[in-house]
Structure formats: structure tokens, C-alpha cells
């Protein structure tokens, strides 16, 4: 995708702005990780190792983390102007994200059905606000992909602008995946091993 000098400059502005924004997001998650670290495990309620399920975490992680790869293929196809293959890979990314969300929702509803809600203990409080905020990011990303999907079909939408929007989304998506890796390490793994 060739941008002219003006577009490249404006894209660079947006890129830097968005990276700073992701820095803000990273700090938010960092604060929540610290919160989780402080409040887990708690003196009342279940111990994390009693309720975390390795299978759900593994499966959902596989889908979410590989979706980053799918998005990368889509991005490659976009760069070489292969519309169809780009759309297919974007569709796969979307599908994987939805599957992740299904796992996430089933995990939450399973906890709730067992009586483990936000008010059960400070461990579950910090678990829900952290993992829930991440899930909200994935959900937002799903809608965002939907918008990108439609925009690709608009004839009057400049290709360079589409490329810019796609790139910004990809930064977002990889970031959300990166946060998930930290969630695996800090939230789950310590209590699953």
C-alpha cells in the first residue's frame, strides 16, 4: 500500500498518538494487575486454584492468541492488495475472537452459577474487574472488525485511509492479545501449576 508523503506524515501522527493511547491502556491494566496481586488470594471465599479450569484457559488462549496471527495474514493480504484473502483472514480473526468471547462468558457464568460473584471475595473482585475489562476490549474489537469489514466494500473509501484504519486496529488487537498473555501469566498460571 503506497501512501504519499502527506498521508504518510498524517499516518505517523496517528500512529504515535495511538501508541501513546496504548501506553495509557497498558498503565490501566498494570494498575489492575497490581490490584490483583495485592488482593489475591483472599482470606474468605475460594482459593483461585480451586476454581480456575486449565482447559477453558488453554482453549480460549489458543483462539485469542492465534487470532493475532490470522490478523497478521489479513494485513499481509491487504498490503499486497488481495481483497478476498484479506477479508477471509479478517473473518477468521473475527470468528476466533467470538469463540474466545464464548469461552469467557461461559467461564464467568459458570463462576456465577457456583455462587462466585464480584462480591464473594476480594480475589474475585479483582479477578472480575481485570479479566472483565479485557473481555470488554475484545468485544469492542469485534465490533471494530465489523466496521472494517463493511468499509472494505465501500467504493469511495480511499485505500490509503482504509490501510491506516486497518493498521491502527491491528495495533489495538495485538495489544489486547499481549494483555491476555500477562493475564495468563499473572492471573491463571500461578494458581494452575
Amino acid at each position: 500500500m503506497e501512501m504519499n508523503a502527506k498521508e504518510a506524515e498524517l499516518f505517523r501522527d496517528k500512529q504515535i498518538g495511538f501508541f501513546i493511547y496504548l501506553g495509557v491502556e497498558a498503565l490501566m491494566f498494570l494498575t489492575l494487575f497490581v490490584t490483583y496481586f495485592i488482593f489475591t488470594p483472599s482470606s474468605e471465599g475460594p482459593h483461585p486454584s480451586e476454581i480456575f479450569d486449565a482447559m477453558t484457559v488453554t482453549l480460549s488462549s489458543i483462539f485469542l492468541l492465534s487470532s493475532s496471527g490470522m490478523l497478521y495474514f489479513s494485513e499481509k493480504a491487504l498490503s499486497s492488495d488481495k481483497k478476498k484473502s484479506m477479508l477471509v483472514w479478517l473473518g477468521v480473526t473475527f470468528l476466533f475472537a467470538v469463540i474466545f468471547m464464548v469461552f469467557e462468558i461461559s467461564e464467568f457464568s459458570h463462576f456465577v452459577s457456583e455462587g462466585y460473584t464480584t462480591s464473594t471475595s476480594s480475589f474475585l473482585s479483582s479477578y472480575y474487574v481485570l479479566v472483565g475489562l479485557h473481555a470488554a476490549h475484545v468485544l469492542f474489537g469485534c465490533f471494530w472488525m465489523g466496521v472494517l469489514f463493511i468499509q472494505r466494500f465501500l467504493p469511495q473509501f480511499p485505500k490509503t485511509l482504509y490501510y491506516e484504519k486497518f493498521k491502527i486496529f491491528s495495533y489495538y488487537w495485538h495489544f489486547v492479545d499481549l494483555v491476555w498473555i500477562f493475564i495468563i501469566l499473572i492471573v491463571y498460571l500461578r494458581y494452575l501449576i
Binding site: D13, G17, V24, L32, S42, S119, Y128
Partner: protein, 638 residues
């Protein structure tokens, strides 16, 4: 008080009724004026604007409106405290708690912050030769988010539900166990929404300063206000983000039963840590831009460049960094233990060093100059000794064992009003007088300005100097009265007189604005004999500035060419400018977020979900109508 309208009987306290009546009357007058002079096109253009000067003007306008309201709260506080065992109107117990909560929250978040952001918005692009902020649309969003947050917060009072938990919102008082009503939710959501806007604006300013400087405007040629803005914006990103999470956690504690700040494992001190990791840098977020303004005004009216420019830059950066290492000095009495108490005492003391460097550099800028006592300069000169007095008590407070006595007493109240008013508020007034030509194309009246300055400054010292003694005599903060035998009567009464002098000063400011606009005498591009780029553009600054683009040849670029008696060199070879198009979307986005949070406050979750969908729909509209569409995809030919 009970009122009966059309058979409905509403019971509300008389202060709320008074507020409704005066708002309706004011609203009526404004509507009448708008209709009579047909100001609708003007209002419509400001609603849709993405221009940095107009948004900056809006920031200052509404910041000043909320400043007036919070100032009125301060006067009511002082009336209640004027004499011992006083029962002024309704302002005891809850009503008094609501007064000081509103006063603090509004002054910090809805008065000082927006007025500073407004000045940054107006001045920074002009100082560095940028045609607008990097993201004009986002700039409008940032402003309207602040506006929405302020609207939510203010609305609470009109529903007789103003929060009464202090501007610090200490848990567990702020959790639903102790304040189950919606009052505290207004605090949580109002601050959260406007904080989000502040983060966006800070981000915008950073990218603008990094990417949009004019040719030749190297980092170490930037005016100090721009430097201060840059460092402040970075601090905002760090501090307000932590605040956002703190409020997020408090929201969950209040609405969804989480147990962060209460319960068997909950820790109230954790709130204090999060709050002050935000709160202490916030103090410098308020002070640094003001330092920047003074650093530009003092050289202008001394006719001499700033003394020790690089030391000034270095100390701004150092203050910014150190401000993140001192937060627990607000918590020396919570039992962090001797080691941490000592550590935070020492880090706090170190901040005095870069601040001292700045003070002396300002003093030595005056030396050998030709000092013109214009109103902006008077405010800047008033700042120096006043701020140093506040700084002195700051060092005294850092002495942790002594702080066991000072903490949460009126002495602390005296200290932080000394520093914040001297730096931020005098800085804002200095900035408004100085930059009014760029905002409005008019210059504020000097005589009235001097009345404003002297009344305000004398009132300020009269209010807050005796307050030190009030505190040392054992009066805690946030109490609504005292006994005649406590030895607090004289100093409290002095403070009340002082507060009204400040109020009188503000009335002169109102009169000044009114008079200046009525006389409407246009002012030249460079009314103050300025030194920097902003004085090369017309007054008021037009939407298309810097065409052709000036080439910056050193620090104080305008002064350089004035000295050499020539025009500024210009170029057509410069980077592409931000793309802007007026849009109503920012207002709509902010309003739907306000509606969403309003429904959240009353826990109408379905309604808030609907507004969330609406908000998301606006995002989609935004993406599809991106103003870049008309400028992109033109190939290399552009």
C-alpha cells in the same frame, strides 16, 4: 422547604431552590440575549468547532463559570466559619460537607484544569508554529467530555444530591456502606468522564509538540510554556490513568459489591495510595503550566530573555519526575512505618531544589531588565513571593514528625491554597490578561485589571495567612464550626474578610470583560512587544495561521528579528498540516456518554445500555465520515 406546583408537592432545601431560581433567571437572560442579537450562528459554529483557539476559549469560558460557582461555595464556607458556633443558612452537617466537597472537586477538575487546558490549546500551537493540534476532532471530543463530566457533577446539586465525601473521596466513607445514596456516584462518574477528556487532550498536546513544530523550532528553542505543557501532558497521562482505575474500582465497590476498600481483605489505604499517585502529580500538573506562563510573561515585560533557560527546562522535567515519588507524604499518619515515612519526607524535600532554581531564575530575569508593570506582569510578580511562602510551608510539611501535627489541619489547607492559588490561579489570570488579544482580538482594561489584581492578592494573603495559625491552634479541616474558647475566632474572621476581598477582585474581572467587549477596540498583533511566535499571527488568531510558515532561527524567534530590524523568514517547505472539519459528533458523543453515566448513577442499566449502543453508533458514523476521506487516496499528486 416545600413547594407546590400544579398539585405536585416538591420538598427541597432552600439553597437548592435558590440555585434553581437563579439558574432559570440567568438562563432566561442569556436566552433573551441570544435571541435578540441572533447569536445562533455563533453558538452553532462553536458547537461544531475543532479549531484550537475556539476550543481553548470554550475551555476557559466554562472553566471560569465553574470557577465562579466553586468560588461561591468558598464564600459560603467562609460565612459559616466566620464566627464561632455559627449557624449560617443551612450550611452545617451534610450541607457543609457537600460545600467543601464541591468546592474542592470543582476547583481542581472543573476550574483549574480546564482553564489551563484552554490556555494550552490556544497558546501552544501558536508558540510552536503549528496550525492546529495534531487531532482537531479528538480535541473537540476532549473538551466536550470535560463539559459532560462537569455537567453531571453540577447536576447533583440541583437534585439535592451533591456528594459529601471530600474531593479526595476517601474510602470507606465513599463506599456504599457509608454513603449508599447516589451522591457519591455523581462524584465517581463526573470526575471519571472529565478525566477521560483530559487524557485525550494531553495525548493530543504531546503529539502536537513532538510532530508539529515549525521548521527550525528545535526542542531547546521552544518557549517554556510549551515545555511545561509537554511535561504536564505526560504527567496527565500517567496520573489521570491511575485515577481512572481508582474510580473504576470505587465504582465497582459501590455498585457491584466488590471488596477493594472495605470488607475483611479490603484496604482503605489502597484507595489513598491510588488517589495520591494521581493526586500529588496533579498538584504539579496544575503548577507547571502556570510556571510556564510566568516564564514567558516575565521575560516579555522585563525586556530580557529568561535567565538560565536550560536550567528552567531541566527543573521542569525534574519536578515532573520527582512528583511521582512523593505521594505518600499525604499519608504520613496512616502508619506506613518509620522507614517509609522517612523516605517520603526526603523525596519531598528534594522537590524544593528544582523549584528553588526556578524562583531564582525568575528573579535574575528581572535583574537588569526594564520592568513594565502591566496587569499580566503584576500577576506574575505577585506570584513569586506568594508562591515562595507556600513553598516554605511545603518544606515544613515534609518534615514528617512535624506533619503529625500539621496533617489534616487548617495549616495544610493554608499551605495548599497558598501554592495552588499563587501558581495556578494567578497564572491563569496572568495568562488570560496576556493572551486575551489572541483569544478575542481585544485587550483587557489595565486599570480594572489592577483593581482585580490588588484586591485578589491582598484578599488571598488575608484569607490564607491567618489560616496557618488557625491550624496550629488545633482546628482540623472539614469541620463546620468551633468553640469561642478555642482561640480560633480572630484568625477565622480575618480569613472570611479576605475571601470576600478575593470575591470583590473577581467582580472587577467580570466588569473588566464586560467593559472591554462593550468598548470593542481592536488590538494589534503584538500589543505587548512579545518575543515569541504567537505574536506574529493576527489578533484574534485566525483558523488558518502560519501561512506562509515562519522559519525559527533561535529561542525567542520574534525578538531575534526585531533586534535585527527585519521580517521573519518564511518557507513553503513544511510538513502537512492537520486535517480539520467542523463536526457536531463530539458534542453528541459527549452527551450520549453523559446520558449513559446518568443512567448508570441511578442504576437504570437498560437505559444506559441503549445510550452505550448510541455512543457506539456515533463511533461508527465518525469512522465512516472521517474528514480524511476527502484528502486521502489522491496518489502522489497531492
Amino acid at each position: 422547604m416545600e413547594i407546590s406546583i400544579f398539585g405536585f408537592s416538591i420538598s427541597a432545601p432552600s439553597d437548592v431552590i435558590a440555585a434553581w431560581i437563579s439558574t432559570v433567571i440567568m438562563g432566561g437572560i442569556i436566552t433573551f440575549y441570544v435571541v435578540k442579537t441572533n447569536k445562533f450562528p455563533l453558538i452553532w459554529s462553536y458547537l461544531r468547532t475543532t479549531n484550537h483557539r475556539k476550543i481553548g476559549t470554550l475551555y476557559i469560558l466554562f472553566g471560569f463559570l465553574f470557577f465562579s460557582r466553586a468560588g461561591l461555595d468558598a464564600l459560603l464556607i467562609r460565612l459559616q466559619l466566620a464566627v464561632p458556633n455559627n449557624e449560617f443558612w443551612l450550611f452545617q452537617f451534610e450541607k457543609y460537607d457537600q460545600l467543601f466537597t464541591t468546592h474542592g472537586t470543582m476547583m481542581i477538575f472543573f476550574a483549574a484544569m480546564p482553564m489551563l487546558l484552554g490556555l494550552m490549546n490556544i497558546v501552544v500551537p501558536l508558540q510552536i508554529g503549528a496550525r492546529d493540534l495534531a487531532f482537531p476532532f479528538l480535541n473537540a471530543v476532549g473538551f466536550w467530555l470535560f463539559f459532560a463530566g462537569a455537567l453531571i457533577f453540577n447536576f447533583s446539586f440541583f437534585l439535592n444530591s451533591a456528594p459529601g465525601i471530600g474531593w479526595t473521596g476517601y474510602a470507606p466513607l465513599s463506599t456504599s456502606i457509608f454513603t449508599p445514596d447516589v451522591n457519591s456516584d455523581y462524584y465517581v462518574f463526573g470526575v471519571q468522564v472529565s478525566g477521560l477528556g483530559t487524557i485525550f487532550t494531553a495525548l493530543n498536546l504531546i503529539v502536537t509538540i513532538i510532530r508539529h513544530r515549525a521548521p527550525g523550532m528545535k526542542w531547546f528553542r521552544m518557549p517554556l510554556f510549551t515545555w511545561a505543557t509537554f511535561v504536564t501532558a505526560i504527567m496527565i497521562l500517567l496520573a489521570f490513568t491511575v485515577l481512572a482505575i481508582a474510580l473504576y474500582l470505587l465504582m465497582f465497590d459501590r455498585m457491584f459489591g466488590t471488596k477493594f476498600f472495605s470488607g475483611p481483605d479490603g484496604d482503605p489505604v489502597y484507595w489513598q495510595h491510588l488517589f495520591w499517585i494521581f493526586g500529588h502529580p496533579e498538584v504539579y500538573i496544575l503548577a507547571l503550566p502556570a510556571f510556564g506562563i510566568f516564564s514567558d510573561i516575565i521575560p516579555t515585560f522585563s525586556g530580557k530573555r529568561i535567565f538560565g533557560y536550560s536550567a528552567m527546562v531541566f527543573s521542569i522535567v525534574l519536578i515532573g519526575f520527582l512528583s511521582f515519588t512523593v505521594w505518600a507524604h499525604h499519608m504520613l499518619t496512616v502508619g506506613l512505618g518509620p522507614l517509609l515515612n522517612t523516605f517520603f519526607a526526603i523525596t519531598t524535600m528534594t522537590i524544593a531544589v528544582p523549584t528553588g532554581i526556578k524562583i531564582f531564575n525568575w528573579l535574575f530575569t528581572l535583574q537588569g531588565g526594564l520592568i513594565r508593570f502591566t496587569v499580566p506582569m503584576l500577576f506574575s510578580l505577585g506570584f513569586i513571593p506568594s508562591f515562595v511562602m507556600g513553598g516554605v510551608t511545603g518544606v515544613m510539611l515534609s518534615v514528617s514528625a512535624a506533619d503529625f501535627q500539621f496533617h489534616d489541619s487548617q495549616f495544610v489547607v493554608a499551605h495548599f491554597h497558598y501554592v495552588i492559588l499563587a501558581s495556578t490561579i494567578l497564572g491563569i489570570f496572568a495568562g488570560i490578561y496576556y493572551y486575551y488579544p489572541k483569544m478575542m482580538g481585544l485587550r483587557l482594561d489595565e486599570t480594572l485589571g489592577k483593581w482585580h489584581f490588588w484586591l485578589f492578592l491582598i484578599g488571598y494573603h488575608l484569607t490564607f495567612f491567618p489560616m496557618h495559625i488557625t491550624g496550629l491552634n488545633g482546628m482540623p479541616r472539614r469541620v463546620f464550626t468551633y468553640d469561642p474558647g478555642d482561640g480560633l475566632t480572630v484568625t477565622n474572621f480575618m480569613s472570611t474578610i479576605g475571601a470576600f476581598l478575593m470575591g470583590a477582585g473577581i467582580l472587577f474581572f467580570f466588569w473588566n470583560i464586560f467593559k472591554t467587549h462593550r468598548e470593542n477596540e481592536p488590538v494589534s498583533d503584538d500589543p505587548w512587544n512579545g518575543r515569541t511566535l504567537e505574536w506574529t499571527v493576527p489578533s484574534p488568531s485566525p483558523e488558518e495561521t502560519f501561512d506562509p510558515m515562519p522559519v525559527v532561527e533561535g529561542m525567542d524567534p520574534l525578538w531575534i528579528v526585531k533586534k535585527e530590524g527585519r521580517e521573519m523568514r518564511t518557507t513553503t517547505d513544511h510538513r502537512s498540516t492537520p486535517i480539520a472539519r467542523d463536526s457536531i459528533l463530539p458534542v453528541l458523543m459527549a452527551l450520549s456518554l453523559a446520558a449513559l453515566t446518568f443512567c448508570m448513577i441511578y442504576q437504570w442499566f437498560i437505559a444506559s445500555a441503549i445510550f452505550a449502543v448510541g455512543l457506539f453508533a456515533l463511533f461508527i458514523v465518525r469512522s465512516f465520515t472521517d474528514e480524511k476521506k476527502e484528502h486521502y487516496g489522491k496518489g502522489e499528486a497531492s
